[in-house]
Symmetry: C2
Subunit: 464 residues, 2 copies
């Protein structure tokens, strides 16, 4: 078989790159371990099933507010198996759609392990097929890490690959890690009735540089309000099995009993066993594949996208890098990786969305920064929807008004942020954002108002 | 009293213009009939209370879907008075916030009827105050119209000013008019348990040029599925009171009994009694105030905004025109009225959003048109949320790829559309829209996909 492009890994990045390569006229082949793993982590063990479960938690929130809309419900029972079933149906439907579509456009998926033999040859173990190719895209993804004595066994210690098999609502769960996955499951399990203890090593939840402290703290307060027991600057010192589950000793001196421990402490790139180093693809010290702004590795015709390239493991970053790689294979040098335009969204008790720089980051880059904040508390549409919590925060360059970053907490933040993604990509300033006609009432108005706060000077009557 | 600007009417347009004028340093006074009417129709008898009720209907939709998320509810009762109470609380809170905020920034509101005595003098009847001013902005809004023998009495025939006083769920309601208000209340009453008959004179619901036929039809099908009895090309020929309500004879030969008739056939501008014509402000044949692209009337220092200027009666159009007027008073000629950038959003069984041109309109303007459509049926986020119905439709110029219009039906269409409002305003093309990094999974991805359908050529696997 001879093609233009072999993509190793049909997860979000590989799949999207495959479709894009097809659109651009490249003869392309996808190589994926098995028919069950098409769609990768995001689809099968990540964003898609977790968003489904998160929507269930959101529905319970809605349920509790219904009386204000004259709807007086008579209580509800929880059937976790039905939740799981609904969730798995969505995952399977999307996966089968993927495969059907690939077939329709004659984008072959070969099942097996793709191993690079030389820069122009991929051998698929399992299918026992040798493919000659002009280009290779490595999109092999990542897998959960364990820490110390917390070794996942799927029962007492459950990692983010294993959580999907749990088929009951735990009475009590101990979540280790206050990042995106940790706060998401804290919200899900809490709303479905669990007692939740969330421990985080660092001093706040969502402890990453590109999410401002305010966003993390605002979410943290809400989770606490909902009854999540958040312990920051805390670790699990030891744990043991008990007849009912586990007992853990925390670094704050307390003991926590739980049905199981959910380990959500991060992921590492999957880069071994694909023959990459053997042909000269270099890794950095942390095991990520070194890529340039076009997602090109140290071997010029081999590219990489997604979780293998950096710790910011987001499906859409993978999809984007995959397309940039394809564009570059075809000679395009106009489209480059650009960290400023990556939306980062967390779905927990609120949606927490960020794009571009935080104030701290902007100051580190020597900007004089202006910030405009608008609360959803008084936003009419948010009030109509009973979701008037959170805020829109815009960070701009004082000199030019250029929008450097935007950080939204609250209703539909994950969709709203895209307005600013477009603007940051296009280097728009706050005057532009303030002069758009926003529908009234809408949540989007808060974006215009935050921009106006900067452009015209602050007058806001924010209740924070 | 001597000021720079008197604004007659503190509805959406007047209020927003007042804040903007304050931001721009003008000494400004708002004149409004009474403390109870601050906020105008939108706040008191329009978009705000109706969006609240619409959210209740949406909650009932959500309630019914909960079992798929493992939430098994035990039924509910309806308490319409609580709905009304919650709704009125939101309206009053926003109104009081408005007033408090105006006070905080020293933007006076004088209560009474503002009458223009000469282009530089407004006399406020009631307050008996004469104000000398450089500029006047007329923002007096609109009121419902009646048709033929359907004369609103608040009981048998209820107009859109009176519907807010109804304090029970009608067993059966006859809605006259299939425009924005008609389809909104059809959905609300249907979900709260009413039988609903919706009659529309024209051949489809949402019968306006700037909403494409596909959007109206898609919504119509959904309403019918929910049990709304839609009768297009139909009118009420006669009606009479009965012991239980009303009985109406329709032009299709049938008779409909109902608790009351909701009349939602449109609004007319409120332009009489303000001394406008006396000082030379000209009206068009339909009674709208003639304005130029800067919202300036035929008297150079008198401007008008909102419902008095055109039949497209949208709060945000009023707000926008008000700001353009203020900008022009201060010498700005860069900011003009532009119909292409007005988002139009209807909240019914779906959100139906439009901006810019439909295909028909684009063809009328001699564009060669390309259209990209992406269904929400297979959108992963929409599937996770159980709202995978509807579509994103982008209309572009074949020659340049410029985005001419966008029409979204489905989840959060009313927020999503703003991404394209920004783009259309900035004359962006489909290449721009297709190269943004959209979060995965998100509804917003459907915008990028529709743009890609045009830019790269169609490959979509849309289930329509």
């Amino acid at each position: 078989m001879e093609v233009d492009l072999v993509i190793i890994g049909a997860g979000s990045g590989g799949y999207e790159a495959g479709i894009y390569a097809y659109r651009r006229g490249m003869r392309t082949v996808l190589v994926e371990l098995s028919p069950e793993s098409v769609g990768g982590n995001c689809l099968n063990r990540g964003c898609i099933p977790s968003k489904y479960m998160r929507h269930g938690a959101y529905l319970i929130d809605k349920f509790e507010k219904m009386p204000e809309w004259g709807i007086l419900p008579k209580g509800f029972d929880i059937d976790y198996k039905k939740l799981k079933e609904g969730r798995d149906n969505v995952v399977i439907t999307i996966r089968e759609n993927f495969k059907k579509f690939a077939q329709q456009i004659n984008l072959p998926i070969i099942y097996g392990r793709g191993v690079v033999k030389d820069p122009n040859t991929v051998f698929v173990e399992g299918a026992e097929e040798t493919i000659k190719t002009k280009f290779i895209l490595v999109a092999t993804g990542s897998r959960p890490v364990a820490v110390g004595n917390l070794v996942p066994d799927g029962k007492s210690v459950v990692d983010t690959d294993q959580i999907w098999d749990i088929d009951f609502v735990p009475k009590k769960v101990l979540i280790v890690g206050g990042g995106a996955v940790g706060v998401e499951f804290a919200y899900i399990f809490r709303k479905y009735g669990s007692k939740v203890v969330l421990v985080e090593l660092q001093r706040r939840i969502l402890p990453v540089d590109d999410i401002p402290e305010d966003s993390g703290r605002y979410l943290g307060r809400k989770l606490k309000q909902l009854g999540v027991d958040i312990r920051t600057k805390t670790t699990v010192e030891s744990w043991e099995k008990t007849p009912d589950g586990v007992k853990a000793k925390l670094s704050d001196g307390t003991e926590v009993e739980a049905d199981f421990i959910l380990l959500a402490v991060g992921r590492k790139p999957t880069t071994q066993g694909f023959g990459l180093e053997e042909v000269g693809v270099e890794m950095d010290q942390k095991g990520f594949i070194k890529v340039n702004e076009f997602s090109q590795t140290t071997v010029p015709n081999i590219y990489a996208c997604g979780d293998v390239t950096s710790p910011l493991m987001l499906a859409h970053k993978a999809m984007y890098e995959g397309k940039i790689a394809v564009n570059h294979m075809l000679g395009g040098t106009d489209w480059k990786r650009d960290d400023r335009v990556i939306p980062k969204i967390i779905y927990s008790a609120f949606e927490v969305a960020s794009v571009g720089l935080t104030e701290d980051q902007a100051e580190d880059e020597d900007y004089e920064v202006l910030v405009g904040v608008t609360s959803f508390v008084t936003n009419p549409k948010a009030m109509d929807d009973g979701e008037n919590e959170g805020f829109v925060r815009i960070v701009a360059d004082e000199e030019t008004g250029e929008i450097l970053g935007c950080h939204i907490v609250g209703p539909h933040a994950g969709e709203l942020i895209h307005q600013v993604v477009h603007m940051i990509r296009d280097r728009k300033n706050v005057e532009f954002a303030s002069k758009t006609m926003y529908s009234h009432p809408s949540l989007s108005e808060a974006i215009g108002q935050s921009a106006s706060e900067i452009h015209y000077g602050p007058i806001t009557w924010v209740k924070r």
